[in-house]
């Protein structure tokens, strides 16, 4: 879909590659309103995560013994919790933790998964067999069950939650990188580089990685959405971010005993999760659609 436009643009303004690209991007955004919405919300979420102080109305740790469990009002938009803390400000500050934990986890999975996948696919043989089986085992277990078990066995903490989520999503990147490496290794130019004696590391980094990076990017987006959900689940179960530190999941954990009494403690953090995951999914879904069509398999 994108390519004919690109050639049009190129013909119109051959001397301004950057402007041409910007135009192409603008055209894609105009064609895909859902993508635009997704990017917009993601951007706002990112701003909240970077500058929570700007958005928050209270200190997230400030307790107010005189105003516990108050419903939403003009003073406390999302109400207050059992200790009289402002739920809105806690949700705002929780954004940073939630996004950071999910982001670092996916980064870990991307790094480990794609490195192992490239090695496995490029070299094949015994290493490939061993890594492949191991990844299959991890892949076949339900994500949440595995994350709960890992985080549980290692002990509840942010670091261990990151490890658990990272391990769960490593096989996804492994698979993408491995199949990409296998396909690319068979290409004539890669074989030629091998024949003229280029070093393996150079071939993998210079020739194979750039060709799987688009797929890895789509996978990163998709996994990031799931990682936010997984982090929230772990923290909700008390296996991730620990109270009193706010994260979306840990606020929900605190609100859980008061669900019927103080629903706002559960409603708003959940909506925040929904909104952020949805925005990432909107981007991921569109990317996948476009990628699939360009591959001719959609």
């Amino acid at each position: 879909m994108g390519s004919p436009h690109r050639t049009d643009e190129a013909r119109l303004e051959p001397t301004h590659p950057i402007r041409t690209r910007l135009r192409a991007v603008r055209r894609v955004l105009a064609e895909e309103p859902l993508l635009t919405i997704g990017i917009l919300i993601s951007f706002i979420m990112l701003l909240i995560a970077i500058f929570p102080e700007f958005f928050a109305t209270y200190d997230p740790r400030d307790t107010d013994a005189l105003a516990p469990l108050q419903g939403p009002s003009t003073a406390h938009w999302f109400g207050t919790d059992t200790l009289g803390r402002d739920v809105y400000s806690r949700v705002i500050h929780g954004t940073r933790t939630s996004i950071a934990v999910s982001g670092i986890s996916v980064g870990f999975a991307l790094l480990v998964g794609s490195t192992l996948g490239l090695i496995s696919g490029y070299f094949g043989g015994f290493v490939d067999q061993l890594l492949g089986r191991l990844m299959d085992v991890v892949f076949s277990l339900p994500a949440l069950l595995l994350a709960v078990a890992i985080a549980g066995v290692l002990g509840p903490s942010v670091r261990n939650a990151i490890i658990a989520i990272g391990v769960v999503y490593t096989p996804h990147f492994f698979r993408v990188a491995r199949s990409g490496a296998i396909t690319m290794s068979a290409r004539p130019f890669v074989m030629a580089s091998r024949l003229i004696g280029a070093r393996h590391r150079r071939i993998v980094i210079r020739h194979i990685l750039p060709n799987v990076s688009a797929l890895l990017m789509v996978q990163t987006t998709v996994s990031f959405a799931y990682a936010i959900l997984l982090e929230a689940s772990l923290s909700f179960l008390g296996l991730g971010v620990q109270p009193p530190n706010p994260s979306w999941g840990s606020i929900l954990n605190e609100g859980r005993p008061f669900l019927q009494l103080a629903g706002w403690m559960s409603i708003f953090p959940g909506l925040m999760i929904l909104l952020s995951v949805l925005s990432v999914n909107l981007v991921g879904d569109t990317l996948r659609d476009r990628w699939d069509t360009s591959q001719g398999s959609g």
Binding site: S140, P142, L146, A149, G152, G155, L259, G270, D285
Partner: protein
């Protein structure tokens, strides 16, 4: 296993006899924790192969006895959620999206399924509890009833968690059904059916659906396995005595034979599920013969 903070020994001993180092060592030896981790793992595996999942460190009850009844709860929940996500939501949603491809119902289905995909399962559970407790004065029951004892009561407590779980699993099935139907509708045998004068409805349901459903059934079967994962947290929200709650309880008590057994049992169940899905696939698609 030395990494683990607050080992079971210190927990058990704290309760029992304070921190007498002699008692501690005795206890460790009794549980076999004085041996290196690989020896522990080895003997555990050896026992598992013989069908012995070991005893709970906590309650001394054989893990198999703890796990059995709870597995039934989890499987019932996941099975109901699978039915909801495929038969109630996924396949009808995909059919609608395919029938109105690129028109507004298609977009609505797409946005709704993306929404369902983006909702945290446990939060959906909480919201259902909230809504039902406010409107119908319903709250999650304190004791679980087996479907064989009182089917109605069992359904009343299982249907909401199953819906919360099923919603999460519907989105991939909607997408799969839609794309599968669209692909099949372009096949030559659909044109043949049209050339015989069959109605569009008949073509869609008698000819296209039967072919398009094959990959959907496969992925719904595999979805079953992933919904078991979601069941862990849904059980906690709805206080259902399933494997998920057992697992969380065992984790908080650092009762590792139970944790290992939970993961292992579900892993083994998933292997059998995969085999079952393969058999079902061969049954649905006459072109595939088992053993080929």
């Amino acid at each position: 296993m030395s990494l683990i903070p607050g080992s079971v020994i210190s927990q058990l001993v704290d309760q029992a006899a304070g921190s007498d180092p002699e008692k501690l060592a005795e206890m460790e030896a009794f549980l076999g924790l004085d041996r290196p981790w690989y020896a522990q793992l080895g003997s555990w595996l050896a026992n598992v192969v013989q069908g012995d999942l070991g005893n709970s460190w906590r309650s001394r009850i054989p893990v198999a006895d703890l796990l059995g009844p709870r597995l039934m709860v989890t499987l019932q929940l996941s099975a109901m959620a699978t039915v909801i996500s495929s038969l109630v939501l996924g396949i009808p949603g995909g059919l609608i999206a395919a029938a109105y491809k690129s028109r507004w119902p298609d977009s609505v289905v797409r946005v709704v399924s993306l929404l369902a995909l983006s909702v945290p399962v446990f939060w959906m559970g909480s919201m259902l509890i909230l809504v039902f407790s406010v409107w119908f004065n319903w709250s999650p029951p304190l004791t679980w009833v087996s479907p064989f004892e009182d089917f109605g009561a069992n359904m009343r407590m299982m249907i909401l968690p199953a819906i919360a779980l099923g919603l999460a699993g519907a989105a991939p099935l909607v997408r799969m059904t839609r794309n599968s139907i669209l692909e099949v509708m372009g096949q030559n045998y659909i044109r043949t059916a049209r050339s015989t004068g069959a109605t569009e409805g008949r073509i869609r349901f008698r000819h296209a659906l039967r072919n398009a459903i094959i990959p959907v059934v496969t992925s719904a079967g595999l979805q079953f396995g992933f919904l078991i994962g979601g069941a862990v947290v849904i059980e906690e929200v709805f206080s259902l005595p399933g494997v998920g709650r057992l697992l969380l309880q065992a984790i908080s008590q650092r009762d590792f034979p139970v944790v290992q057994a939970c993961v292992l049992t579900i892993g083994i169940f998933l292997i059998f599920l995969n085999i079952a899905v393969d058999i079902l696939y061969a049954y649905l698609d006459p072109r595939i013969k088992l053993g080929d």
